[in-house]
């Protein structure tokens, strides 16, 4: 596969992820998930305790609280989450590039 085709795929893929995280996530079900439901039914949900202060999380519970609209809080949290995850692999790519360059040179 040519470099150009990889680039096209990455752009399309990241845009798809952003669309899902920004525009579809507001429609997600707000029911508890399987584990939460089981914990709720058996009465051990309150055992869920953060070991660290809630303030250390940048966007706790997918809430970007710089904006006030709850709709945008979730969407923007999704947007930044996708970009952060993609950036991790961007860094891996740069490290890989640097490592292979050293090997060849």
């Amino acid at each position: 596969m040519s470099e150009k085709k990889i680039t096209t795929f990455v752009i399309v893929g990241i845009i798809a992820a952003l669309v899902i995280a920004v525009f579809i996530s507001p429609f997600a079900s707000s029911f508890p998930d399987g584990l939460e439901k089981v914990a709720e039914n058996f009465g051990f949900l309150e055992k869920a305790q953060n070991v660290v202060n809630d303030d250390i999380f940048l966007m706790p519970d997918y809430t970007f609280d710089v904006v006030s609209s709850p709709l945008w809080q979730g969407s923007l949290a999704g947007l930044f989450g996708v970009l952060i995850v993609a950036a991790v692999f961007g860094i891996i790519y740069l490290v890989y590039k640097a490592a292979t360059r050293n090997k060849n040179g």
Binding site: M1, F9, P32
Partner: protein
């Protein structure tokens, strides 16, 4: 299925962390051999997509919801070693930035979703694919592998809760497996749809089509 802090005790945290670190180390070692720019690009896009799709909870009967885990999606596209790294990155970002899944439970969550979910789905997919090369068998393999990956992951999540004494082992196991047998159907539908779509337009992106990884 992200376990929060407080649901797993110290011995479970340590045990699952050791298993996860070992499994992840093996995955990094194996993936380095197949590392190419293309592999990293596909892994990055998959990780971004799985993160986004994990935000999309779908309702199931009984006032409960589920979302894609992506273990089967990632293992069938890039193989189990790359797949476990994809899921681990997603889980770490969720735990550290979004408070989704506890920080002390990270080892357990990585074990359940990034190792059990990924490797069980790959093994099931691999053996069903061996039966026949037909397209219909390809779709069946994806769907069955996806369903089992969720059920197996929920089994281990429940096992860890039971081990920790959070609630009675037998009851937790039964409840967790039953609810994830339903959520697993969603996993199977979404995963099969995505892989079938990619296989139609860009089969070269499904790396396990070319060789087993």
């Amino acid at each position: 299925m992200h376990i929060p802090d407080g649901f797993v005790d110290l011995k479970t945290v340590i045990t699952t962390s050791i298993f996860s670190a070992g499994g992840l180390g093996a995955s990094i070692y194996r993936v380095k051999k197949i590392f190419k720019a293309k592999t990293i690009a596909i892994m990055g896009v998959l990780a971004a997509l799985i993160f986004a799709l994990q935000m999309i909870n779908f309702s199931i009967p009984g006032g409960t919801s589920g979302h894609l885990l992506g273990g089967a999606l990632s293992s069938i596209v890039v193989g189990p070693f790359g797949g476990s790294i994809i899921l681990t990155v997603v889980l770490i970002v969720q735990a550290l930035i979004f408070n989704d899944g506890g920080i002390t439970a990270l080892g357990a969550n990585i074990f359940n979703m990034a190792l059990i979910g990924v490797f069980s789905s790959y093994l099931i997919y691999y053996f069903i694919r061996k039966i026949s090369k037909s397209k219909i068998n390809f779709y069946i393999a994806i769907a069955v592998a996806s369903w089992f990956s969720v059920v197996f992951a929920s089994f281990f999540a429940a096992l860890e809760l039971g081990m920790s004494g959070t609630y009675a082992m037998g009851i937790t196991l039964k409840a967790m497996i039953l609810v994830h047998m339903v959520i697993g159907i969603g996993e199977a539908v979404i995963t099969t749809a995505i892989i079938a779509f990619v296989d139609r337009i860009r089969p070269d992106l499904i790396l396990t089509n070319e060789r087993s990884l």
